[in-house]
Symmetry: C2
Subunit: 321 residues, 2 copies
């Protein structure tokens, strides 16, 4: 039986959507056992359905790397500790990204041979149903060429075993497509990757989401800028669209005609349904959900955690490195 611990605190919307997500998940997946970690009095709906660990303290969103380690009674610290003690196979949280990533890295340690863990997320692309995984999107501030080479391997294993892409096409994020392009670290990583049959060369940020790549490798700083600039532009465009429809009664009527299309677009762009982002390369399955996760996002994230455990990706990475 797969065991998953879920941090029910620290998200923007409190424990209610997390509890609902867990209940819905358990209904569909009787083969999974869940441990809910958080304020006991908020978890009464879960009694008898899953294990409950009382941990009343909330790690603040802006928590620094070491803050979680000091907050022994926080839901996040206790969640990560359950994984460290081997009591669960996977952990899920919608709390502070920095806090969750750093405490997971410190407590679970990286897989032997892996220099650095990578934060990885599947991004929707122009092609419906096709996702590209990009890593590292922010676990590190800088990375060595050797680390980028390892990211390529981990990303390809994720694409293959979780997304079912038989021969994932792996690219390096660069400022041009020619082999000579890239940051100093990127150029060296290019040479290290040249022998990898899955490696297809450089890709520019403007083509990252057009569907040609299955895996895109980058250092954590650049990946974070990519993630956040895409997010910022998507939000800005969505705001413009809203305004376009708000002008008058006629434009509001116009909205009635296209709202289904707009909804489809929003769903394609919805990072919630992708089940969050994962920390790859540590001794454990670590899934981070968006801070404003709703019950559906939590459901998807727990499901990704389950898939990651079932696929035994951790051991595949260990063997691959």
């Amino acid at each position: 039986m797969i065991k998953i611990a879920v941090d029910t605190l620290g998200g923007d919307n409190g424990s209610a959507p997390v509890v609902e997500g867990i209940l819905n998940f358990l209904k569909d997946h009787p083969d999974v056992s869940i441990t809910a970690v958080g304020k006991k009095e908020e978890l009464s709906k879960l009694e008898g359905k899953c294990e409950i660990v009382d941990a009343p303290d909330i790690v603040p969103m802006e928590a620094g790397p070491l803050e979680v380690m000091r907050m022994k009674n926080s839901s996040m610290f206790k969640t990560v500790s359950l994984a460290k003690e081997g009591k669960v196979d996977a952990i899920v949280s919608s709390g502070s990204t920095g806090g969750f990533l750093s405490s997971s890295t410190l407590l679970l340690k990286t897989i032997p041979g892996v220099n650095r863990a990578a934060f990885i997320a599947p991004f929707p692309t122009k092609i419906k149903g096709h996702y590209v995984v990009i890593l590292d999107i922010g676990a590190s501030n800088e990375n060595s060429p050797e680390e980028l080479k390892q990211f390529a391997l981990m990303g390809a294993l994720y694409s293959k075993h979780i997304l079912g892409v038989e021969e994932p096409k792996v690219y390096l994020l660069s400022n041009g497509t020619e082999p000579g392009k890239g940051s100093p670290v990127g150029k060296q990583a290019y040479k290290l990757l040249a022998d990898n049959p899955l490696f297809k060369g450089n890709i520019e940020a403007r083509n990252a989401l057009n569907g040609e790549a299955d895996v895109i490798v980058t250092d954590g700083f650049t990946g974070n800028v990519f993630l956040k600039s895409s997010e910022g532009m998507a939000k800005m465009m969505a705001g413009f669209i809203k305004n376009a429809f708000k002008k008058n009664l006629w434009t509001m009527l116009g909205y009635l005609h296209v709202r289904k299309g707009i909804k489809e677009m929003t769903e394609t762009m919805d990072y919630k349904s992708t089940g969050g982002a994962m920390l790859l390369g540590v001794n454990g399955v670590v899934v981070k959900v968006h801070g404003n996760a709703d019950a559906y996002s939590m459901y998807c994230a727990i499901n990704v955690a389950k898939k990651l455990v079932a696929s035994d990706l951790r051991n595949k990475i260990k063997e691959g490195i």
Copy 2:
């Protein structure tokens, strides 16, 4: 009288839109003298209205840094040479970005004290009519902390003298807002900038276009990723919107109601009307227009070149450094 040389070849649409842009510009600006550089036979409409320099060779879009220097009969090489020889005050091209930036840097050299030239562009923001200038968006592959400090100075001078912002707010592009965040180079640049009263700290990519910043400083590799990921996401969203309207007759009718709003959005996002990007820090005024520039874009770009010469930004940078 301000003298501007315009490269009429190398853009995606040939010389026709460039010629039209020049004609329109001259109608409105009798105080500017233009030298059109390109295939003489394609420039007959300009005869008697501006100087013409015959240069029939076209630098290909994917030209490497040294290719232009070898193409002595190319319109681009001759355009840059006119600036080097002091025959014109400014140059404008819609040809190969790499070719134009590298030949301009090689021939014009950087202003004494400036370590590296920076490619800078004004980006539209959520606030109508407000632009944020971001540099470097791709002149370099890497930059030192000292270079980022100089970019802050050049960007602030551009914001003040060209966009009319009295006290521009300057930020560093980072992966978090706290002072300790950033790439290794960014963190050092933060310290060098701490004394600058215009410097307001770090900004995340997701907030770059929300209107709070007037100037955003970054190394050329990261800036290029920012530029291209924003561009890619904007295109993808625009494609989704189009599809939403194409579904059936009703949604097409819906489009009639909102097309004005959509057009306004597209115009806000239109980099064409901002007059292209500039290479700052060289001994000359260098304006690069989008490869698919139309007559209006060319007009705007020549106008920016005129403003840059009139503001004497080059000497203000020299004094500031």
